[in-house]
């Protein structure tokens, strides 16, 4: 089991006059399944971009396994042990599925033999039910298959913390099951998985812990059953009744 110690301390991000992320603090110290929810514009993807190095925080710090990673380029954060997928899939279109898998494999293990990496990639693709498409250009894959490929690429990196941005969006229900199985299996291997989703059924089914963002700030963080009944969360989702 790999070491996990992700810590966010008062992380903020401001775009001009907009406070997209507002003093967010939380930590992940064990292999947890963490759901991250919030209404549209709550700052979920921005927070993901801050953790993965795509954006630099305006203030605050992020540590991963004792190493400060905020403001570091994404490749460095990835190598430090935090991998992510994108809300809109970013398959490397004019490269084959196997080449898509080899990019993170070789970037993470430059000295590993290609043969070993290819064998590992085959195993992962079989787990994700897309091993028959190994030599296909990734731009020819269906939407759900691209999501599966993104998940497969993450496993080649073997990160301690995985952030999945809308893994179920626009995916056939049967393929959603494949993704769910993937999440359980990766979690069983000792990884912490944080996933953003608007699919509340999946969120409450999978999550061991739920973080709720609203207007860029964390308004609830805890066990899903408790979070579900938190007045602040209900208020954020359903709105505030002025008369009551």
């Amino acid at each position: 089991m790999s070491e996990i110690q992700l810590e966010l301390n008062k992380v903020s991000k401001r775009f001009g006059g907009l406070q997209a992320v507002d003093h967010v603090s939380f930590s992940v110290t064990k292999p947890e399944l963490i759901g991250m929810i919030g209404p549209n514009g709550a700052g979920k993807t921005t927070l993901t971009n801050l953790m993965s190095g795509t954006l630099k925080p305006s203030s605050g710090t992020i540590y991963l396994n004792g190493r400060r990673i905020d403001g570091h380029p994404p490749y460095d954060v990835t190598r430090a042990g935090l991998g992510r997928t994108f809300q809109i899939t970013r398959a490397l279109g004019r490269m084959t599925v196997m080449e898509n898998m080899m990019v993170p494999g070789l970037a993470h293990n430059p000295r590993a033999s290609r043969k070993d990496l290819e064998a590992r990639a085959h195993e992962i693709l079989a787990l994700l039910t897309i091993d028959h498409l190994t030599h296909e250009l990734s731009r020819a894959l269906s939407g759900g298959q691209r999501k599966l490929l993104e998940l497969g690429r993450l496993l080649m990196l073997d990160p301690a913390v995985i952030i999945l941005d809308e893994p179920f969006a626009g995916v056939h229900p049967r393929l959603q099951d494949t993704i769910t199985n993937y999440i359980y299996r990766v979690h069983d291997n000792g990884k912490a998985i944080m996933f953003i989703s608007h699919n509340m059924g999946a969120v409450f089914e999978l999550s061991e812990r739920l973080i709720v963002l609203h207007h860029g700030a964390v308004i609830a963080d805890g066990e899903p059953g408790a979070v579900r009944n938190d007045p602040a969360v209900i208020d954020a989702y359903l709105g505030h009744d002025e008369e009551n």
Partner: protein, 388 residues
């Protein structure tokens, strides 16, 4: 009529396409090695070939930079010029050493030494330009490199006290062979050898993990970075590497091997456009395709300077000649333009792409994978069927 499918099946069941491809490459190399020994060939023909080899280096290295790494640069000829001009100036003028405060006489620099210094200079400028281009993509990158290229050309044109202006600059001759025929022969082999070495170096990079990372960056820089690729490092690396290749080729070519002087006209955007056109026609994502596109285009452009069509059945032209002669002038470039337009519209991977994919056997793999494509619904149905 030849049944191509039967022929194809015979190849697949026999020697195999890939081996046949290697055999064809070996035959092409054997032809180029034999060519200068053919006594019926003039020195002019050898000169055309030498120029073809030089442009093949230019286009194939540009294919690595733009076709594989996705850095659509117009600065390639400028880097070639930097290699040639620095090699020329370092061996002629003491001012560079004086500027650096080093007490070295330019006369003591050999032609080989000058070429090495020119190559390093091209790489050093490539490093700076690569760094400046880090945040620029697509049209902005192209515009920046056009500006850089023009800036360098105008500097070479204006500083005629040092560079010879429009008359150009002579470099220290690399070879000292008195006999003209023997000299052409050696120059031919030198330039051909240089092309082979450069192609091997380019192939080595393209097929290494670096080549894979460069292609990933071409597809999506942000995704490549999220997958652990140090985009900054590889972007600069490809600029430095290709700059050094063309700087080296330029310094050798203009050391009286292919041409006796480098002139600023060589650095014009039109010349750069020709390098791009050769690569596009041959196939800009294939190094060998781009090289072949450049060589064949150079040869045909030269061969088409004058078109002679012998008239049959004793027919004569109005002036009594038995052949129709057309001095094509710039029309050959117009025809070249038509080929380019056709390529871009109908064969975006280049005219040589079908041949290259056939020999590599990639078309078989592509047909197989196409048959396995499925929608999300079909994929889900297949999993369910497998589960049952």
């Amino acid at each position: 009529m030849i049944d191509f499918r039967r022929f194809e099946a015979a190849i697949d069941n026999g020697i195999g396409r890939r081996k046949l491809g290697y055999l064809v490459i070996a035959l092409i190399i054997a032809f180029f090695l034999w060519f200068p020994n053919d006594t019926s060939q003039s020195n002019y023909a050898k000169t055309v070939f030498i120029s073809g080899f030089f442009y093949a280096i230019m286009s194939s290295s540009w294919a690595l930079l733009a076709g594989i790494a996705g850095q659509f640069s117009f600065g390639h000829m400028a880097f070639m010029g930097i290699g040639a001009y620095v090699a020329g100036l370092i061996a002629r003028d003491g001012f560079i050493f004086a500027m650096l405060g080093v007490n070295i006489s330019p006369e003591s620099i050999s032609a080989v030494g000058a070429i090495i210094i020119g190559t390093v200079a091209a790489g050093a400028v490539g490093l700076v330009i690569g760094w400046l281009l880090l945040r620029l993509r697509e049209a902005y990158l192209a515009l920046f490199t056009i500006a850089f290229s023009e800036l360098f050309r105008i500097m070479m044109l204006t500083e005629y006290d040092y560079t010879g202006g429009s008359n150009g600059l002579s470099l220290r001759p690399l070879l000292q062979i008195a006999d003209v025929d023997a000299a052409r022969q050696v120059e031919y082999y030198l330039m051909f050898g240089l092309l082979i070495v450069c192609l091997l170096a380019l192939y080595w990079v393209a097929n290494s993990p670096i080549g894979l990372f460069l292609r990933a960056m071409r597809e999506d820089e942000d995704a490549a970075s999220a997958l652990g690729v140090n985009v900054v490092r590889y972007k600069i690396l490809v600029f430095v590497f290709t700059s050094m290749i063309v700087g080296f080729a330029g310094a050798v070519f203009y050391s009286d091997v292919g041409s006796e002087r480098i002139i600023p006209e060589q650095l014009e955007i039109l010349q750069m456009s020709l390098i791009i056109a050769y690569a596009v026609i041959g196939g800009m994502e294939s190094l060998i395709g781009a090289a072949a596109g450049a060589f064949i285009s150079r040869y045909l452009l030269e061969a088409m300077r004058q078109v002679v069509i012998s008239l049959p059945f004793g027919l004569t032209t109005a002036d009594g000649s038995d052949a129709f002669v057309w001095d094509t002038g710039y029309w050959r470039f117009a025809l070249f333009g038509v080929v380019m337009v056709f390529t871009l519209r109908y064969m975006r991977n280049g005219l040589l792409y079908p041949i290259i994919t056939w020999f590599s056997g990639r078309d078989i793999a592509m047909k197989e994978t196409v048959s396995k494509r499925e929608s999300d619904d079909e994929h889900a149905a297949r999993i369910e069927a497998d589960d049952e």
